[in-house]
């Protein structure tokens, strides 16, 4: 049986099984994990260029729908399904109210998105992924807020997909077929004749993709939804589902607009606008992130800020830009996954998501603390770990185009990301441990295995980025760009300079060893409990000092908030909320028509008739 089709059928069967056995939670979580692993096994059966088509007589004509494998789809499939395995393996021990069968439906839809060859199945999979994730978010921790969050996400994503629907039909009416290949090549052909029509259609598609990855104007739903979604689902939502938008962008970005459209700094102006969308998202995400007090909301802002980085890189559509974008997409999946899994492990043990109530948990959960530390180091782009290579390549890609303003903005976003990562790290793990968490224990064995695996992955892909850069190079050449030169697994070849990551790792390790040796040989130190702290001579017991009072983490960057306050007045989600309320208001007004007494209805009917007659008269 063709393994392409298996990638779709297996998750659906698994989902059905999970739905039936929904009552026995452990069995359902095991089924979810097994389905993910089996799907991964089928993944080995496919190779670039596979094609599977079938016909559907619908809309009166014999529509040809199909699945095809491009290097990009293989890259995305491997990435997302592998992460799914890690997540569902962790979820076996997680008690969050995540419904396994909906996750498997989302998996089926995500495989289908990455493999669809025609617009109908792409839209079919996109909508399927949409509603299964909406229903999933309903089961969040706080039921009223998770409903608001899910409905906000539903409105944005359904609105986005309807704009894509219009785009699909505008396009397919022009070309007559639904297959993506022919449509994109058609767009390229008519590009020189009337570019504005092409831009119109493509922007309709891009609205849907921007909503899904939370890019600037449509990012407002992300914090509400990630903050409220059930804990087991948030890592999948943030790491994997934001990549659909990236995949979507990459369908239409090959329209090399350079030749037909006025260029800015050697870049076609639509790409330039998209790049600015990316950089603004990155800055907005990072700046808003370090003001949050809810840890899930904080990392929600962080995840769509990283999406801004990715979009800024791929919008350049130069060899180094595309490589940087895809590499950052992979790294984002890795470190975002690591951070979110440790956060939900933490929340399941600590019970609250508000950072001001946590603190000092490194004493109780050391392994989670280490994974979180390596996760945020990778997110901040610290060399030996995974995040460094991609962030560094993004800056090189941007600066090689001379886009100085956007690069400085992105660098500010990456420094601001360092801020909120440190804030989360301090507020949650470091500082004073409150007595509420005295009996908090480390995660279960399964949790430990997952965390060790994530640690290994972060370090492995940090040291040997070649394993990720080779498939990316094949993707870049598939898009018709000349890929960057490759020389060995441990090398990252940028435009300005190339770095041997293994040598950096060795040097850092040697420095660490030297540090620990120095630490050992000098005078001994004495371990002291957390109460024995410098309190300017005041004896803590006298003014009954509690660890909560003594932990400083609420409003950590208050001066910076005051500094950036004028810029934050512009509330984008205010716009969407206002729009929602006005629709509700009109609804209330319209409802008045059906007053309930029959005279009104008869007047309406007769009135309608009179209008028709007058209209007939006038026209006559």
């Amino acid at each position: 049986m063709n393994s392409l089709l298996a990638l779709l059928i297996v998750p659906v069967i698994g989902s059905a099984a999970a739905a039936i056995l929904q009552r026995y939670r452990l069995v359902e979580r095991l089924i979810t994990f097994l389905t993910f692993s089996v799907t991964f096994l089928f993944l080995f059966g496919i190779k670039v260029g596979d094609l599977f088509t079938w016909h559907l007589d619908f809309l009166g004509k014999n529509l040809e729908m199909g699945l095809q494998i491009t290097p990009l789809s293989i890259f995305m499939l491997y990435m997302t399904i592998a992460f799914g395995i890690v997540l569902t393996f962790y979820n076996i021990s997680e008690k969050s109210k995540m419904k396994g069968f909906l996750l498997l439906l989302t998996l089926a839809a995500s495989n289908w998105i990455f493999m669809s060859a025609d617009l109908i199945s792409f839209f079919f999979a996109w909508e399927l992924m949409g509603w299964s994730s909406i229903l999933m978010i309903f089961g969040g921790r706080r039921e009223a807020e998770s409903r608001q969050g899910a409905l906000y996400y539903a409105m944005m994503s359904i609105g986005g997909s309807y704009s894509m629907l219009i785009g699909i039909f505008l396009l397919s009416n022009l070309t007559g077929t639904f297959s993506i290949q022919s449509n994109v090549s058609y767009l390229m052909s008519i590009l020189s004749v009337h570019p504005w029509q092409v831009l119109g259609i493509v922007s309709l598609f891009f609205v849907a993709f921007m909503v899904k990855s939370g890019i600037f104007p449509f990012h407002t739903w992300v914090p509400y939804t990630y903050g409220e979604a059930p804990d087991g689902f948030v890592p999948y939502l943030s790491s994997v589902m934001s990549k659909y938008g990236v995949y979507g962008f990459l369908i239409f970005l090959p329209l090399t607009l350079g030749t037909h459209v006025p260029t800015v700094l050697g870049l076609a102006w639509p790409n330039y606008v998209l790049l600015w969308f990316g950089s603004i998202t990155a800055v907005v995400g990072s700046v808003l992130a370090f003001m949050q007090d809810d840890v899930k909301k904080l990392f929600a802002y962080s995840s769509f800020s990283n999406l801004g980085f990715i979009l800024a890189a791929i919008a350049l559509f130069t060899p180094i830009g595309l490589t940087a974008g895809l590499f950052h997409a992979f790294n984002h999946l890795l470190f975002n996954g690591a951070i979110f899994i440790t956060v939900i492990a933490l929340i399941s043990k600590v019970g609250t998501t508000r950072m001001s109530e946590m603190g000092g948990i490194w004493q109780k959960m050391p392994l989670t603390f280490l994974t979180f530390f390596v996760g945020i180091a990778a997110a901040a782009g610290i060399p030996p770990f995974a995040g460094f290579g991609s962030k560094w390549m993004i800056f090189q890609a941007m600066i090689s185009h001379g886009l100085i303003f956007a690069t400085v903005l992105l660098f500010f976003a990456s420094i601001a990301s360092f801020l909120y990562l440190m804030r989360a790290f301090h507020a949650v793990f470091l500082g004073q441990l409150s007595h509420r968490y005295d009996n908090v224990k480390e995660v279960s064995a399964i949790g430990k295995i997952t965390e060790v695996f994530l640690l290994g992955a972060l370090i492995f892909f940090g040291i040997l980025p070649g394993f990720v850069l080779d498939p990316i190079n094949s993707i870049v050449s598939a898009f018709g760009l000349k890929p960057l030169p490759t020389s060995g697994y441990e090398y990252i070849n940028g435009f300005f300079s190339s770095i041997n990551m293994v040598s950096i790792f060795i040097v850092v390790i040697v420095a660490f060893i030297f540090g620990f040796v120095l630490f050992a040989i000098v005078a001994k130190h004495k371990k002291v409990p957390q109460e024995d702290n410098y309190t300017a001579g005041q004896i803590p017991q006298d003014w009954n000092l509690t660890p909560e009072m003594y932990q400083f983490s609420y409003d950590f960057y208050e001066p910076m908030n005051k500094e950036l306050a004028p810029f934050l007045k512009v509330k984008i989600d205010g716009f969407f909320k206002g729009f929602g309320e006005s629709v509700e208001y009109i609804g209330g007004a319209v409802k008045e028509i059906f007053t309930g007494n029959v005279q009104i209805y008869t007047y309406l009917a007769v009135g309608g008739l009179v209008i028709f007659i007058i209209a007939g008269w006038v026209v006559w």
Binding site: R147, F612, G616
Partner: protein
């Protein structure tokens, strides 16, 4: 020829059995209910037989009297689809009634129900505009009585409103028919369709307006659909299921049979004779209905009222589909009609079960249904997702076709489809809000709801059908494509199949 005349049984049997039910009623109330199930079963399988053996289209001359006096039944692809749909929905609701209809006068309920379904089937298959009026009256009367059925006072209010407005509608329709009869001397649709171009256009527009106004009441278009919310919420749940599942089907069929076959002027996009293009007029009314229906449903807090407004809006959607005038448009209309009646009937039945277990109709009472009975929640979710047009469910393909048709038509129809999509985002909001309430909180009292067999069968059948259409749209796709052909290609599809048989006879 033998089977052709049997088709008359399709109309005759339900009416005959309807009036014989009081006799069976004396023997036992249970028997009366079983009679309705059996007759509708017969109807369904007969329709299935016509469809599967592909013996449509054929014409049945009643008693060998030639028009303009005799009537004929024309069972084309459009009529077949609707007959199967009506009989299937009727069958399912009658099975549901075995369990639910036990308070009040069971015999009268069964009589009225069977009369209503028989009348609808007749309405759908008759080939004579005056005969359409007769069947409209039959279904009208039975639906007034059905709407008034049940213990609640609001049922009476709803039924009375429905009575007043639809009587206005039928009188207007009657004037229209008289006008046409005086002009063309015939009542047979095919003959009128052939001779329509001979009369003066002024008279045609006037007759057309009267007919459209009359039929718009039944087809629930904007100015004329005041009665819809009160009647649907007033009526008992199985009755509102019948009204929205079957009643609206008949209404829309007749409206567009008259518009497209009788008044239709062929062209790549069908438009009507006379000065106004009635199709464009119906399109405007349809989009108004959609917007008003969705917006007023948004602020409702009562689930039944929400479903009522939503069915009104869906009918507006179907009207837009047909009024595009292209083959794709009517295809979308038929497909949407089928999906809507299945899904809406199922949701009303589910609501009926929920109400019967003492849980209120308010949206807050839906809290924690997922824990009380996963079966009801899953089926309600399937129904609502299909109405929203999300994949894996029937509604997806019909909405898909609708958007395709209206963009193909282009011009100001892009504006229409933009409004429709906005409205369906609003619709998504309030349906998902209900689903959200069901999924989220663990209720205080975790008393499980045990759904007995007889109400469960129709709901399971409906949801399986929805998913089946969702996964294999060809089930409904093929025949609705032929139905669309029959509507848009007036001469080839309808007239030439009917005239020879009459002349030959």
């Amino acid at each position: 020829m033998k089977t052709y005349n049997l088709a008359a049984l399709l109309v005759g049997v339900p009416l005959l059995m309807a009036f014989s039910i009081p006799l069976f009623g004396f023997i036992s109330k249970q028997l009366a209910k079983w009679i309705t199930v059996l007759t509708l079963g017969f109807e369904f399988f007969f329709g299935l037989y016509i469809f599967l053996w592909h013996i449509y289209p054929f014409n049945v001359i009643m008693g060998n009297w030639l028009p303009p006096f005799g009537e004929n039944l024309y069972i084309g692809p459009f009529a077949t689809v609707l007959i199967i749909l009506i009989s299937f929905v009727g069958l399912m609701i009658s099975i549901y009634n075995l369990w639910s209809a036990n308070h009040g006068d069971v015999v009268h309920f069964a009589l009225l129900f069977l009369m209503f379904v028989g009348g609808s089937i007749g309405l759908v298959s008759t080939g004579d505009i005056f005969n359409i009026f007769i069947f409209m009256e039959i279904t009208g009367i039975s639906s007034f009585a059905l709407a008034a059925y049940g213990p609640e006072r609001r049922a009476l209010g709803g039924a009375f409103k429905y009575l007043v407005v639809s009587s206005i509608g039928s009188t207007l329709y009657l004037f229209g028919v008289l006008l046409i009869y005086t002009q063309l001397g015939t009542l047979n649709i095919a003959e009128i369709a052939a001779r329509i171009s001979q009369t003066t256009s002024g008279l045609l527009t006037f007759a057309g307006i009267l007919l459209v106004a009359g039929l718009a009441v039944e087809a629930e278009l904007f100015p004329f659909n005041g009665w819809v919310p009160d009647t649907y919420t007033g009526a008992v749940n199985p009755v509102s299921a019948t009204l929205s599942g079957i009643g609206s089907v008949g209404g829309v069929y007749v409206l567009f049979r008259i518009l497209m076959t009788v008044f239709g002027k062929d062209g790549n996009f069908v438009s009507t004779y006379g000065n106004i293009d009635l199709m464009a007029l119906v399109a405007i009314l349809g989009s108004a209905t959609v917007v008003i229906g969705e917006l007023s449903a948004l602020v409702q807090k009562n689930v039944k009222k929400m479903l009522a407004y939503s069915s009104m809006a869906q009918m507006g959607l179907v009207a837009i589909g047909f009024s595009i005038g292209s083959k794709m448009g009517s295809y979308a209309g038929v497909f949407q009609l089928v999906n809507h009646s299945i899904a809406k009937a199922m949701m009303f039945l589910i609501l009926g079960i929920i109400v019967s277990f003492g849980i209120g109709e308010h949206i807050e009472d839906m809290k924690g249904l997922w824990y009380k009975s996963p079966f009801l929640t899953v089926t309600f979710t399937i129904g609502s997702l299909s109405l929203l047009g999300l994949p894996l469910f029937g509604g997806f393909w019909s909405k898909f076709a609708l958007v395709d048709a209206s963009i193909q038509r282009g011009g100001w129809y892009d504006f229409v489809i933009a409004i429709v999509l906005f409205a369906s985002v609003v619709e998504a909001f309030y349906y998902l809000r209900i689903v959200g309430y069901m999924f989220t909180s663990k209720p205080t009292s975790t008393d499980k709801i045990k759904v007995s067999i007889s109400p469960a069968v129709p709901i399971v059948a409906f949801s399986i059908l929805i998913i089946a259409i969702g996964v294999f749209p060809q089930i409904v796709g093929g025949i609705s494509w032929n139905a669309a052909h029959e509507l848009t290609d007036k001469m080839g599809g309808y007239v030439l199949n009917v005239i020879p048989t009459i002349v030959g006879h």
